[in-house]
């Protein structure tokens, strides 16, 4: 019972405990709540850094294992892949919490909100650290349940409908996932995630059954990772407050789905084995359809957050693309995009939240000239959206570079065509927004009512609690591309993960 045992538990429970305490805090103790939140987030970030240092520098294996009966083990284990996801979600959680504190200042039901907020991050930490499919499944479904109250937080009929849609999608597919998990367990016996996959070691594996199980697992994961045609809940869920959107799109939910796809393809089936079974081609078709369809749908939207949501549908599939393209560099690109997409998209949603809060801007046709009124916010928005298009030196370019190289390596030249088409479409829906914001005149003076509804602030265009996290994530997404060659950049870490996966337990 040493640190190797306790550290993953501390990281997991830092948000769990704070969440539970926050539930019982009275509504008006906002200072205590904020302190608790930030303390929990700090502990988590520090713990993750400790684990990263231990694992990468000293090769310490962190592992927690309980037996749950029925041959199922509850297993938390830190490997390189989980480290990537957990460090992303813990760091972004820290920033999102700060943002949420500023965003929700003075609104109702904050105890409920922050309580579930913490639980949600607990769940995503669990998803990241899960060392086998059943543990993964537990946290994955837990995540569904605790995000529901956040989606319906506003309590409006629209929010309730969105929440119902979300539950419908997630729960029905969760059942499919469970069938897949149990069937695989019955077939292959208890197993842990092993890089390179476990199934190829199975003797006389029944091909048909493995194919069906793969389909079940991917269908089970496809709701959260927003694969077409099961993506419908994501644009509907944009009625939630901005921090929740950030959480859904960048920190926890969508990422958990994409991460699950990576786990299944890389660590359960193994990329080569899956390819040998002929499973990757159908998945690739779905992924490509999602990338193109998401961008096309984004083009049609006029609601800012809805457009961003469809953009997520398209961009998250890049991660899955990294899993289905055979070239090793594509895997690196997909892993790097896990982080890149997170920091860029969270910036966009933060900015959308600031625009909505301080100027009442919800639609794209309201964005005329807003660059002049809110230069800082729009600069950050510009950085992130150029990154999404794949304009260097922002982070998105690096992921695309590696994905394309992987595709060419494997002789799958269609990847380049898909990326090029997607970039064009991305440009088609991001650049007009930027043009309107920067180069069109402000149509009218913002009416005093909008301003008074907005947040009163001094010389800054928004309260610092909103601006600082946005600034941080935007700078991250710039730096992740600028210094992509650095050893510890997201790309560098992704390369390390990829290189290290052969040798790690």
């Amino acid at each position: 019972m040493s640190m190797t045992f306790w550290l993953p538990l501390i990281v997991l429970s830092s948000s769990l405990v704070t969440g539970l305490i926050i539930f019982v805090l009275p509504e008006e103790r906002s200072r205590v709540r904020t302190m608790l939140n930030m303390a929990g987030a700090t502990v988590k970030v520090a713990g993750v850094f400790l684990m990263a240092w231990g694992l990468l520098a000293h090769g310490i294996a962190y592992e927690v294992r309980f037996t749950m009966g029925l041959g199922f083990d509850f297993l938390l284990r830190v490997d390189l892949l989980s480290l990537a996801f957990v460090s992303l979600s813990s760091n972004l959680w820290f920033l999102t919490t700060l943002y949420a504190v500023g965003y929700l200042e003075g609104s109702e039901n904050r105890s409920r909100f922050f309580g579930f907020f913490s639980l949600c991050v607990t769940a995503s930490t669990g998803v990241a650290l899960a060392g086998n499919l059943i543990t993964f499944f537990i946290f994955y479904e837990f995540l569904t349940l605790v995000t529901y109250p956040l989606v319906v937080h506003k309590g409006t009929p629209q929010a309730l409908a969105a929440g119902r849609t979300y539950l419908w999608y997630a729960m029905s597919v969760g059942a499919v996932l469970l069938v897949g998990v149990v069937w695989l367990q019955a077939l292959a016996g208890p197993f842990d995630f092993v890089s390179g996959g476990v199934l190829h070691a199975m003797e006389h594996a029944p091909r048909q059954e493995l194919t069906v199980i793969f389909a079940l697992l991917i269908i089970g994961l496809s709701v959260k990772s927003a694969l077409v045609p099961l993506h419908g809940w994501l644009p509907a869920a944009m009625v939630a407050p901005a921090p929740v959107s950030a959480l859904l799109h960048a920190v926890a939910v969508v990422k958990a789905g994409a991460f699950g796809v990576l786990r299944v393809v890389l660590d359960v089936y193994g990329k080569d084995h899956a390819a040998a079974l002929g499973l990757l081609t159908p998945l690739a078709v779905v992924v490509v359809a999602t990338i193109i369809f998401g961008s096309l749908r984004a083009l049609m939207q006029n609601d800012l957050k809805r457009r961003l949501a469809y953009s997520t549908v398209s961009q998250v599939s890049y991660i899955a693309l990294g899993a289905v393209v055979l070239g090793p560099l594509a895997t690196v690109g997909g892993l790097a995009h896990l982080v890149h997409q997170g920091i860029m998209k969270i910036t966009l949603f933060f900015c959308a939240g600031i625009l909505a809060e301080s100027r009442g801007i919800h639609r794209i046709d309201q964005m005329d000239g807003v660059g002049r009124a809110m230069p800082l916010t729009m600069t950050l928005f510009t950085i992130a959206s150029l990154g999404m298009i794949g304009v260097p030196p922002m982070a998105g370019f690096v992921s695309k570079w590696y994905l394309a190289q992987g595709g060419i390596q494997a002789g799958q030249d269609w990847v380049v065509a898909v990326l090029a088409t997607s970039s064009l479409l991305n440009a088609a829906y991001f650049l007009p927004m930027l043009h309107a914001a920067w180069f069109k005149p402000l149509p009218f003076k913002p009416d005093p009512e909008t301003l008074s509804r907005g947040i009163v602030h001094g010389r800054l265009e928004a309260p610092w609690t909103l601006l600082v996290p946005t600034l941080a994530t935007a700078l991250f997404s710039l730096a992740a591309g600028m210094f992509a060659g650095w050893e510890w950049s997201p790309l560098g870490v992704a390369e390390k993960i990829f290189a290290g996966r052969g040798s790690m337990p």
């Binding site: 119902r164 849609t165 419908w168 999608y169 077409v228 045609p229 099961l230 993506h231 419908g232 809940w233 644009p235 509907a236 369809f293 096309l296 749908r297 049609m300 939207q301 006029n302 609601d303 809805r306 560099l329 150029l386 794949g390 304009v391 260097p392 030196p393 370019f397 690096v398 695309k400 570079w401 394309a404 190289q405 060419i408 390596q409 380049v416 990326l419 090029a420 970039s423 064009l424 440009a427 650049l431 043009h435 920067w438 180069f439 591309g481 600028m482 210094f483 992509a484 060659g485 650095w486 050893e487 950049s489």
Partner: protein, 590 residues
Amino acid sequence: MIWILVVFFPLLLAGLLSIPGLRGMVCRHGPWMACLPALVLALSGPGAQPGVFPSLFLETSLHFGPYGRTFLLLTALLWTAAGAFAGSYFTAKDSSRFRFALFFLLTLCGNLGLCVAQDLASFYVFFALMSFAAYGLIIHDRSEKALRAGRVYLTMTVIGEVLLASAFFYAGSIGLDRPILLFSEIAPALPSHVHGSLILGLAFIGFGIKAGALFLHIWLPLAHPAAPIPASAVLSGAMIKAGLLGWLHLFAPGENMGSALSGACTDWSMTLAWLGLAAALYGVAFGLGKRDPKTILAYSSVSQMGLMTMTLGFTLAPTAAGAEQILSGLLLFVLVHGMAKGFLFLGVGLARAAGRATPRGFLVLAGLGLSSLVLAGLPFTAGSVVKQALKQGATLLPGGCSGLFSAMLPVTATGTSLLLAVFVWRVREQMPEADERIGPGMAAACTGLLGLLLFAAPLAANVLPMEQGLLMTGKHSILDGFWPIGLGLLGAAAFLKSRWSNRDQKGLDDLILESLERALRRLHQRWKASRLCDPACGRIDLVAWSDRILQSRWMRTVPDSLEQRLLYWHTAGVLFIFLLMIFIFTAWQN
């Protein structure tokens, strides 16, 4: 470190713009100061150590390479001049000058960076930075014309960037086991690689959009004139060369010469030569019909870039001997055209403030005329050395083509002088009656550039190992230099007398552009009107579908009636007996 300083100094100044106290000063002096480090570096010689920065982008390496120094020199000179010009072009009260300075500095950073970038990733980064930031320069005026130009420019740029990215994706993966990013390693491997012609083809179009290759140039006559004067000067003088630099990096003349792989090179050589020649003639032919001096200059740029493309084609020809010289000639061409075109654009700005009949007006027109003549290849100027290099280059082509291209060269020179003579005339037409205020920066920038063009460029030219050199001997060769110019001037006089010159003629690319725009607008309208554009279209909402099923009449009536039916005794009894029999049957089976 020197490389980082040189490339990112403009960004640093752009950062200073955010400090309100310094803003006015940076707006005024930032633009011309920004490339002083680059100027010093380019002049100080090739001694600087290559800068390798493993952490920056994907392992950046910054160095001159074979062409970087010339391009950096030209870029730095031209941007300094344009910056000085801009300093007094925008008055202190002009609120738009902050915006201008910002985009100017950003674009400059990209342009400086790509001159010295030696690897794919950083080249692409700087190229994209330059291309996208230039949008802000082009639409600076916010006029309807500028916005349209900006729209066309941005569309073409995005397409170009995507093609270029695809080319670079392929180029980066030609190494089997490790990513290769250096141009110097990629270029030699290209002709023999499976994807070689794909890469070159994509890059040809991608860079061709920037360099104004034939029919990829349609944005150029719109965008270059739409920008403010100092921005047009750098657009047409320096940034347009970025495309050429990209071609040079990938086609790498001099690398593949004499090798067994020259088959592919021959194809490219002829393609480039023919396309270049066509563009050279096209630019002249359709530039003549324009009345706006800046538009004429833009067409002249298309034509001159065509000549450069043609020269590049010459250097790719498989007969190796002498290609080095032609390459040096091409670099000199870049330098001369850049400075001359920069001066011509700035001169247009100067002419707007000079009276038609005043001494100052005369000086301005004389300057414009002189630099036009340099471009046309007036003997005893750097332009004539360029022409000699072209002539020598044409001989490298195989057999019949060689004679043909040699014969066409004087025609292009005639065209250049014809077009530029018309240009000077148009400038004169539009000059005001009396002198107006000219800022000191404007005058200094123009004088400096003209001085460099007339006196320093010949010095650079003299270094080149040309047969004739600057001081050509023999009546024959001097005559060769003069007659195309004379012919061009005569042609210009005839043209201006004719009735064609009275109104703006529509060129072929206007027609192409208009029909494209019309088609796109129609498409856009149809898209707007169609159901496809409706945000709700294509929404896949499984919940709504399931709701529809759950709330359908069938679902409401059928289960109810089934249950009703079950309440009858005989239904229940029959079912019961049926189940019992199944039970007995299975028990009996076992």
